[in-house]
Structure formats: structure tokens, C-alpha cells
């Protein structure tokens, strides 16, 4: 674009056409991003997925039915019974406020009364379109708008991001990645221009991010690290100073307005890096000022003296504050990120969550396909140019590779930088090989140059076939790869990331789909057949779902803030009936819910999670619960005839396999998950609880806790007596507790 003459095509300015094309491309990218996230809605229905989204959905419903202040002061007495949860002060309200605002705007301004559930379901796909645009702007700062457009489409359809933002996955990450990209874009812009305006925008989006996701700490550390590296590289400028000081001061103050964050930014060590770099920047700025005023020899003395002074003061202050007990910089948490075994040994509840497991290599390729090997090439290109913003991409890339390797859920934060780096690399390739204009132009220049060899002038008259052909070759290959990339992304999204996990799907032998809807069946039963204030005991995984779908009080849920309480539930599950009954009565439990997949082969059931319950319970009651007791002599985890006595007597085992053999007409049953046979002899018998409901595929089984006996027998005697009289009468085989239908 050296010549300034306005080119025109069909009488329209080329810039106008370019703008038009760009807008069309944006709309297409957003369309692709949104539509590829709709698989689950089309296949199943508009439904909230998994576990955490159910809590967010419930909180959002609370927000739109109550005022904003009531929401912030919300004390939820329907979870963590009998403790309750200060929900308003312990959640990140950004997500709920966003969908609440959309709901209000649509209803009040446009008179479109849309169900809040549909807004919640479709929020993540809608924001993915915005993420694509934010990624465009970020990448544009790194290279040019061509790379930006590529990054936008990569970001739109990369499975690594889709995994957390399909329709129905109404989680904090759904909007957080958008905000992450926007914050980074404004930071790069602010740092480049040294503008207070962009610095303020960075702070504003940072605030939004803080309100939406605990992962904001990533920004809190990445930006200071970027500044720190730039200072080390001797790239301090006034622009950097302006941008960082603006962002830090405003962003920190703003983030402290979120109740859950509160005073963390000046207390917790996660935020200390940002504070430290802020201090360092002031010193560097002062040094820079002094340097400009005095000659270099004096400056050297000044530098040495002040360095010694600052270091000794800093160390002194650190020791003094630690001694006074104001700060605790070397606590266990500090090491947990670096020593990856720390959490595993000391905090079983962290180790039990599959999201906290390390990532094997297939996951990286699965989530990014072609981009994963373009990523190093893109980083290499960044090193070639190494402007200030490229340093940012490099730091982000290396650091996030580490985090994503350690914890599988952090693939989510790695995906954007892979898309950016991949787009930089690929657009460089297109720059070199797609632009055929210079081939002809070169020819023209060569013909004009008189001193050039005459050979080339002769060749010039011919069409440059070979160069054209080589360009074509590269283009064919890479177009093919990109085409394949789209196929890969669609396949991954459709096969792996589009299951609501509330509703399961299986294939019949003839290929038709079979929907397994046990969860909702059971939750609906709870909702309709139990008293409104009934307390339901279940493992914490299902707490949010029971709260959201069945609207019943739970003892523990997915917000795992109280380890002891979870261990109590674990203990009830892994103890024998008498111990368990005591716990159940103490906690007013009326119903116990277990997930059992042995009949249809659903592997995510409670028996498979059982060892974690045992471990967590053992952490609190090491004298009463022993993990070893659940393994056979040979150290195997068995549920068949070889199962240990403790295993067979545990409440969970009994609840899972109660009357299981009746399905096999009294013969040994087969557990399809563990491929073990359940002996019909001494089938589990229940004394203190009775079966209340079992869903059609046996996935959810609900038991009612028996009340104390009317005539003062213990429950074993009572059950035995009842059984005897049943036998004599031979009237009812199936006995269900009499329950009244709730009005």
C-alpha cells in the first residue's frame, strides 16, 4: 500500500469494500461460533448442563425475582444444612448480573418476555461471538487485521474453548474468556499508547472479570509479569508507567468492591506480585527521572546506594511484618501451585476433582488440532520481531502451557494464546504465499531497471509459472489443513463436548438414539413427592442439581467450602447402618440419594467415587474410617462376593445393590460398570432406611430414612418383625413408604 491513490472496484472505494467484507466475515465468524455450540440444544433440548451451572441458574433465578441488594445479601438456608451458606458474599456475581441485565433489558425495553432459562442456556454461545471479536482486536495489535481475522475464527471454533461454552454450560468461564481477551486487548493498547483512557478501560474490564471468575488472578499476575520482564529488558517507558499505574490503582480499587474479593488484593499473596511491580515501577520511574537530571557517574553511585537501601529496607520490612504476624508469605498455599503433589497429599477433596488432574498430550491435540504445532512457530515469529506486545504473547504462551499441563481445566486459558500465535504464524504464511501481485510487480520493476541483466527481461515477458505453481501448492495444502481443522473441531464438539450430562444418550443397536433421563425423573419425583423442607443427603456432586431441579435442602454441594461437613456425609455413606443412622438423625436427613450405574453401565456412579468419600472421611476420622478396609486382602477394589465385610456393610453399598438380584430373577446379578457379579446369597438388607424411589434405569435411587419405632424397638427388630409378618401374609412384595402427593 505504498501508493496513496485510491483504488476503485466497480466505482466503490476499496477501503469501503474492505470494511464491508470485514463486517461480513465477523458476522460469519460469530455465526459459526454460535451455531457450533448448539449441538446439545438441537439434540436434547434447551437445558442447563452438568453441576455448577445449576447453581448459577438457581442464583440467577433468585436475582431476577429479588432485588439486586437482596441478591448480594442472600443467605441460603437450603444448602449446607444446618449451616447454610452466605451465598451473596461467596459467589462471583458477574455471570448472574449479566444474564439478569439482559433479561431486564429485553423485557423492559424491547417488551420481549424471554424465559430466564433460555437466556442462561444461550449466554455462553452469545459471548463466544464477542470473544472472537475481542481476539481479533488483540491479534490485530500483534500483527495486522489479517492475522486478527484468522485468530477470530480459530477462537470461534477451537474445541478448547467450546468445551466450556456450549449452550447450556452456564458457568463463569462462559463470559470470563471474553473478558480475559478484552482486558488483554485494552492492556496492550494502553501499554502501546501510554493512554490513561485505555488504562481505565483495562481496569473496567478487569473489574468485570473479577466479578465473574476466580481466574482473574491470572490477569493480576500476567500483566505485572509482562511489565517486570519489560523493565528487565530495559524497555521502561513513560507509556508503560502510565498504563500500569492507571490499571493497577483503578483495577485494584474496583476489584475490592466485589464482596467475595474484599480485601484480598492487599492481603493474599496471589496479588502481591502486582503490588510489588507497582512499587518497582515507581522506583524505576524515579530513577529514570534522576538519570535525566544528573550525569552518569553520579547516577551510578545513586543507583548503588539506592539499590542497597531498597533491598535492605524491603527484606527488613518483610521480616518485621512476618514477625508481627500481619502477613504470612510462606504458607502451604504458596507452594501448592509449584509443588503439584502438595494438594494431592494434604487435601483429598482437591485431588478428587477430575478437573484438577494433569493433562496428557492427546487432550492438547484434541482441543486445538492443527494450531498446536503452529503455536511454537507463532512464538518463534514473535521472538523474531519482539516488540513489547510480542513479549506479552510469549510470556502468556509459556506460562499457560505449564498451567495447562498441570491442571486440565486450564486448557481453557491456554486456548486463546494458541489461537493468537497460530493465527500470527498462518497469516505470515499467507502474506508470503497468497499475495501474487508482487510477482507481476517485480517483473515490471525488473523491466524498468535498465542495468539489470537482459536475461530476466526476456523471462519477464513470460508468465511466471513456477513461482505461481509453488505458491499454489502451498495454498492447496494449507487450505486443505484449514478445511480439515473445521472438520476436526466440529467432530470434537459434536462427539465430546455437547452432552448435558444431566440427560444421557445411548445408541440402540439399530442406531437410533435412546435418551436416558433418570436424573430429571428422580429429581422431579423428589420435587413432587416430598415435603418442601425435606433434607436430602447425597454426595456433594449432586448438591447443586438437587437444589436446582428438585428444590430440596441439601447437606453438601459443589461449593466445597466445608471439608468437615463433606466428610460427615462421606462417613455416613461408608459406615454401617447403625453409625450412619446416628449421623442421618443428627442432621435431620429424611431422604438419601445415591447414583448407581451398575445396571446400564454408567461409570460415573457413586460406587466409583466411593474411595474418595472414604478418603475424605478418613481425613477427619482416621480412627473410625480406614481406606484399607475397603480393599480385599489382595488389595483389589471389589464389590462382588470377595468384597470386604466393611464394604458390604457400608450404607452406600447396601443402597446401591439393594434388591439388585431381583432384576436377575433372584440369581447372581452382573454389575456392568465393574464387570463383577453380585452374589444373590446374603443380598444387602436395609433396616434403618427403606427404598422410596428408583428411576427407570436405576441410575438414581432414593431412600427414606425411617423414623424411630413407635413401640420403642430398635429398627433391626422392627424390620425383622415386619418381614416375618410380610412372609406370613404374602400379600405385598414391593413396599413403598406411604407418601402424600404434595399440593
Amino acid at each position: 500500500m505504498v501508493e496513496k491513490t485510491q483504488l476503485k472496484v466497480l466505482g466503490i472505494k476499496i477501503e469501503t469494500i474492505r470494511l464491508l467484507l470485514r463486517v461480513i466475515i465477523f458476522i460469519s465468524v460469530a455465526g459459526a461460533a454460535i451455531s457450533s455450540r448448539l449441538f446439545s440444544v438441537i439434540r436434547f433440548e434447551s437445558i442447563i448442563h452438568e453441576f455448577d451451572p445449576w447453581f448459577n441458574f438457581r442464583a440467577t433465578k433468585y436475582l431476577v425475582t429479588h432485588s439486586f441488594y437482596e441478591f448480594l445479601n442472600w443467605f441460603d438456608d437450603r444448602t449446607w444444612y444446618p449451616l447454610g451458606r452466605v451465598t451473596g458474599g461467596t459467589l462471583y456475581p458477574g455471570l448472574m448480573v449479566t444474564s439478569g441485565a439482559i433479561w431486564h433489558i429485553l423485557r423492559d425495553w424491547f417488551s420481549l418476555p424471554i424465559d430466564i432459562r433460555n437466556i442462561c442456556v444461550l449466554l455462553a454461545p452469545a459471548f463466544s461471538g464477542l470473544t472472537a471479536i475481542a481476539t481479533y482486536f488483540l491479534t490485530k495489535e500483534m500483527k495486522d487485521s489479517n492475522a486478527g481475522l484468522l485468530a477470530a475464527i480459530f477462537m470461534g471454533i477451537a474445541p478448547g474453548y467450546i468445551s466450556r461454552s456450549v449452550a447450556g454450560s452456564y458457568d463463569n468461564e462462559a463470559i470470563a474468556i471474553t473478558l480475559l481477551m478484552a482486558t488483554f486487548y485494552f492492556w496492550i493498547k494502553a501499554m502501546k499508547l501510554g493512554s490513561v483512557f485505555y488504562g481505565t478501560l483495562t481496569a473496567l474490564f478487569y473489574f468485570y472479570m473479577v466479578s465473574a471468575w476466580g481466574g482473574y488472578v491470572f490477569i493480576t499476575n500476567l500483566i505485572p509479569l509482562h511489565v517486570f520482564v519489560l523493565i528487565l529488558m530495559g524497555r521502561y517507558t513513560h507509556r508503560l508507567y502510565t498504563a500500569y499505574s492507571t490499571w493497577y490503582a483503578l483495577g485494584t480499587l474496583a476489584s475490592m468492591q466485589i464482596p467475595f474479593v474484599g480485601f484480598l488484593p492487599i492481603r493474599s499473596n496471589d496479588h502481591m506480585a502486582a503490588l510489588g511491580v507497582f512499587g518497582l515501577l515507581q522506583l524505576v520511574a524515579f530513577g529514570d527521572y534522576v538519570k535525566s537530571r544528573i550525569d552518569s557517574k553520579q547516577f551510578k553511585t545513586f543507583l548503588v546506594v539506592s539499590l542497597v537501601l531498597v533491598t535492605s529496607l524491603g527484606i527488613g520490612a518483610l521480616f518485621a511484618l512476618t514477625a508481627l504476624g500481619w502477613i504470612a508469605p510462606w504458607t502451604g498455599r504458596f507452594y501448592s501451585l509449584w509443588d503439584t503433589n502438595y494438594a494431592k497429599i494434604h487435601i483429598p477433596i482437591i485431588a478428587s476433582v477430575s478437573e484438577h488432574q494433569p493433562t496428557a498430550w492427546p487432550a492438547f491435540f484434541f482441543d486445538t488440532s492443527l494450531l498446536i504445532w503452529l503455536f511454537p512457530a507463532g512464538i518463534y515469529l514473535c521472538f523474531q520481531e519482539l516488540r513489547d506486545e510480542h513479549v506479552f504473547v510469549i510470556i502468556y504462551g509459556v506460562l499457560c502451557s505449564y498451567f495447562a499441563g498441570v491442571m486440565v481445566r486450564l486448557m481453557l486459558t491456554l486456548t486463546p494464546v494458541i489461537c493468537v500465535a497460530g493465527a500470527i504464524a498462518l497469516s505470515k504464511l499467507f502474506d508470503v504465499y497468497l499475495d501474487v501481485v508482487d510477482l507481476f510487480k517485480e517483473e515490471a520493476e525488473v523491466t524498468e531497471g535498465k542495468e539489470k541483466e537482459k536475461k530476466s527481461t526476456k523471462q519477464a515477458s513470460k508468465l511466471p509459472i513456477l513461482p505461481l505453481l509453488s505458491r499454489l501448492l502451498v495454498m492447496v495444502f494449507f487450505t486443505f489443513y484449514l478445511f480439515y481443522f473445521v472438520l476436526h473441531c466440529t467432530w470434537v464438539t459434536s462427539s465430546a463436548y455437547s452432552s448435558p450430562s444431566v440427560v444421557l444418550a445411548s445408541k440402540n443397536p439399530d442406531g437410533t438414539q435412546n435418551i436416558i433421563d433418570d436424573y430429571r425423573e428422580a429429581y422431579y419425583w423428589l420435587r413432587m413427592n416430598t415435603p418442601e423442607d425435606a433434607k436430602v443427603l447425597a454426595w456433594w456432586d449432586y448438591g447443586y442439581q438437587i437444589g436446582g431441579m428438585a428444590d430440596r435442602t441439601t447437606l453438601v454441594d459443589n461449593n466445597t467450602w466445608n471439608n468437615t461437613h463433606i466428610a460427615t456425609v462421606g462417613k455416613a455413606m461408608c459406615s454401617n447402618e447403625d453409625v450412619a443412622y446416628k449421623i442421618l438423625r443428627q442432621h435431620d436427613v429424611e431422604y438419601v440419594l445415591v447414583i448407581f450405574g451398575g445396571l446400564i453401565g454408567y461409570s460415573g456412579d457413586d460406587i466409583n467415587k466411593f474411595l474418595w468419600m472414604v478418603r475424605i472421611a478418613e481425613g477427619i476420622w482416621p480412627e473410625e474410617v480406614h481406606e484399607r478396609d475397603f480393599f480385599t486382602e489382595k488389595g483389589e477394589y471389589k464389590v462382588d462376593g470377595d468384597a470386604t465385610k466393611t464394604m458390604k456393610e457400608s450404607l452406600l453399598y447396601k443402597m446401591s445393590y439393594y434388591r439388585f438380584n431381583e432384576l436377575f430373577s433372584g440369581r447372581d446379578g452382573t454389575d456392568r460398570v465393574r464387570n463383577q457379579s453380585i452374589p444373590a446369597a446374603n443380598a444387602p438388607e436395609l433396616n434403618v432406611i427403606e427404598e422410596a424411589f428408583t428411576s427407570s434405569n436405576w441410575i438414581v435411587r432414593i431412600y427414606k430414612v425411617k423414623d424411630l419405632d413407635n413401640v420403642g424397638r430398635d429398627l433391626h427388630q422392627a424390620t425383622a418383625f415386619e418381614k416375618q409378618s410380610d412372609k406370613q401374609k404374602r400379600t405385598r412384595v414391593i413396599k413403598r413408604p406411604s407418601l402424600e402427593l404434595r399440593e
Partner: protein
């Protein structure tokens, strides 16, 4: 070895003077005091009957183990220092046994009256008979013998309690086990390792001196863009191919079948072996390198025929390696449907 033999003689000598009856608390106390820096007493075939046959007025904890190279027990070697640390910590807190004050506590919450604890160590090579009594088929074992007033021989076999080995910090686990058994809390004192501090200090100083001496070269290295980019790229290649997974899970490098066939890839998206990281990072690296060559080096070729050939070669190579990557990925199962060329 020499130390333990000496220890043995010390024990033996004192035994001869005492006779056959079980040792009293004071005698054991003197033995512990007679020890050097390591406060663990030794049990062998010659003295176990005297020590363990009751009545006893104290707790005895014995580690049955072997450091012999014939047996080659990894856990034994791993466990012994932690055991000794625990014993030393106990003696450091109670150089003269339990104090009056501690003894006064009749029964605390555990319901076990407080009695002193003595730590013993038994090496298989010197106490085969002793090991035979317990019919052990695996070591290490930690046994606890509670106080007893029964005088009969070999009564201790019925009184023994065994410690279960678990994953984790041995000293902590053992400590809580001892607390369960004896009702006494052992405070751990990790001794300051002056040797290591000195080594670290000398290392630091020498590095600083070296930096000062080769200031120019050091600065050159630190500011070298080549080194930094190499470091970043290699770490990215390793980290995105499951290096951390290998570290955390301690997976095997590769697996050999009985028929001698080596297995390089294991099924499953959430699983991998050590060699997979190397293979896959190599493929990624080659692909990235070829890509960079394609956009940086190849366009510099002036001659159009050579250019075409170079472009063709690089493109085809990328294609081949990418196909290879897809094939390798399909090996991991999951029914991945896409492939360019089928290698295997």
C-alpha cells in the same frame, strides 16, 4: 554396618550384666543415652527375647527391615531415615523418659496411660530367627508392642500391632500411628543440615564470583535472544505434550510385553507413557520447524526452479508428518475418524 555392630555389643554387654529377665525402664534409658547421635536401639537374634519378653513397662516400636543389597528393598531405604528422625525427635523431647508431669496425666482422651517409648531397629541379616517368628514374607514392617505384665516367653507375638504403609509423608503417617497406639504425640524435629547450608552457600558464592569474573559473557548469554527463544520453544513443546503429566503421575517410560514386544502408546485420552512425550514433541517440533523454513528461508531462494522444488519438498514433508501425527493420535483410541495417509 560398623556402628550397628558396636551398638549390638553395647546392648549385649549390658544384657550379660543384667541376666535374662526383661529390661527395666531405667536400663533401656541408659542404653538410649549410651547411643551416639542415632537414638534407635538394635534388636538381633541374640537379644530379642530379653527385650521383648515381658513384663514391660514401656512401649516398644520396632522397624523390621533390611538394607542388604541381596534383598534390595527400596521402601526400606526410603523409610529408615524418617524412622530415625522420629526416634531422635522423641528422645530429644524426653532425654530422661517421660517427666513427672507427663506421667501424672492418668488417662487422656485415648484412654492409654502414658509410658515411655523405645525405638528399635532390626536388620534381617542379623536377626533371621526373629523375623522367622513373625513369618514375614515382606519387609519393611513396623511393629508396636504395648506395655504388658505377662511374663511368659514369646507372649509378645500375640501383643503385636502392625503399622500399615501408605503413600505420603512417612514420618507424618508413622507419627499419627504412634499417637493412635500410645496416646503420645511425638514432635518432629528436623535437624538443621549444616552441611547442605554450607554447600549451598559455597555454591552461591562461587557462582557470584564466576559471574563477576565472566561478566561480559554472562551478560551476553542472558541477553541472547537465541537462547531465550530456544528455551521458550522447548518448554512449550515439552509442556504441551504431557511432560508435567509424566512428572506428576510418574508414568513408566514404555511398556514391554511378555513376548518381548515393546509398546510405545497406551490407549486412552487421559493416559500416556514417558516415551509418548518425546515422540509427539519431536513431531510437533519438526512440523513447526518445517513451517518456519517454509515462511522464512524458502522465499529467499531466487532461482524459481529451486524455489519450486524446495516448496514442494517442505510441503510434502509437512503433509507426511502431519499424517503421522494423526495416525499417532488415532492410536490413542476414541474412534478418531480423520487420517491423511494410513501409516499403521
Amino acid at each position: 554396618m560398623r556402628v550397628s555392630i558396636l551398638q549390638f555389643f553395647a546392648v549385649f554387654a549390658s544384657l550379660v550384666s543384667v541376666g535374662i529377665a526383661a529390661l527395666s525402664n531405667d536400663q533401656l534409658q541408659n542404653l538410649v543415652k549410651g547411643q551416639g547421635t542415632k537414638k534407635v536401639l538394635t534388636i538381633t537374634d541374640d537379644n530379642f527375647a530379653e527385650i521383648l519378653n515381658g513384663p514391660r513397662d514401656y512401649h516398644i516400636v520396632v522397624l523390621l527391615t533390611s538394607e542388604s543389597s541381596q534383598i534390595n528393598c527400596v521402601l526400606c531405604k526410603e523409610f529408615r531415615p524418617e524412622y530415625e528422625l522420629l526416634a531422635n525427635s522423641w528422645v530429644q523431647d524426653h532425654p530422661n523418659g517421660l517427666t513427672e508431669k507427663e506421667l501424672e496425666v492418668e488417662e487422656d482422651f485415648t484412654g492409654i496411660p502414658p509410658k515411655n517409648i523405645y525405638f528399635f531397629y532390626s536388620e534381617f541379616m542379623q536377626s533371621r530367627n526373629f523375623f522367622q517368628i513373625f513369618q514375614l514374607n515382606s519387609i519393611p514392617k513396623v511393629f508396636h508392642f504395648p506395655p504388658s505384665d505377662k511374663a511368659g516367653p514369646n507372649n509378645f507375638i500375640k501383643e503385636v500391632k502392625e503399622y500399615q504403609f501408605f503413600q505420603g509423608q512417612h514420618s507424618e503417617l508413622l507419627r499419627s500411628w504412634i499417637a493412635d497406639q500410645t496416646g503420645l504425640k511425638v514432635n518432629l524435629y528436623v535437624p538443621t543440615d549444616y552441611y547442605r547450608i554450607a554447600v549451598n552457600f559455597i555454591g552461591l558464592v562461587s557462582i557470584l564470583l564466576l559471574v563477576r569474573r565472566f561478566k561480559k559473557q554472562v551478560i551476553q548469554i542472558i541477553t541472547s535472544r537465541f537462547l531465550w527463544s530456544g528455551f521458550s520453544l522447548i518448554s512449550i513443546l515439552l509442556l504441551t505434550t504431557g511432560y508435567m503429566f509424566n512428572q506428576i503421575r510418574a508414568v513408566p517410560y514404555m511398556r514391554a510385553h511378555e513376548n518381548g514386544k515393546l509398546e510405545y502408546f497406551i490407549q486412552g485420552q487421559q493416559n500416556q507413557m514417558g516415551v509418548e512425550t518425546q515422540i509427539v514433541s519431536f513431531i510437533y517440533g519438526i512440523l513447526s520447524l518445517l513451517f518456519v523454513v517454509l515462511i522464512k528461508k524458502v522465499p529467499e531462494i531466487k532461482n524459481s526452479t529451486v524455489l519450486f522444488i524446495a516448496v514442494a519438498i517442505v510441503s510434502v514433508l509437512i503433509f507426511i508428518f502431519y499424517s503421522l501425527l494423526l495416525c499417532v493420535f488415532s492410536l490413542k483410541g476414541m474412534g478418531y475418524p480423520y487420517r491423511f495417509i494410513n501409516f499403521f
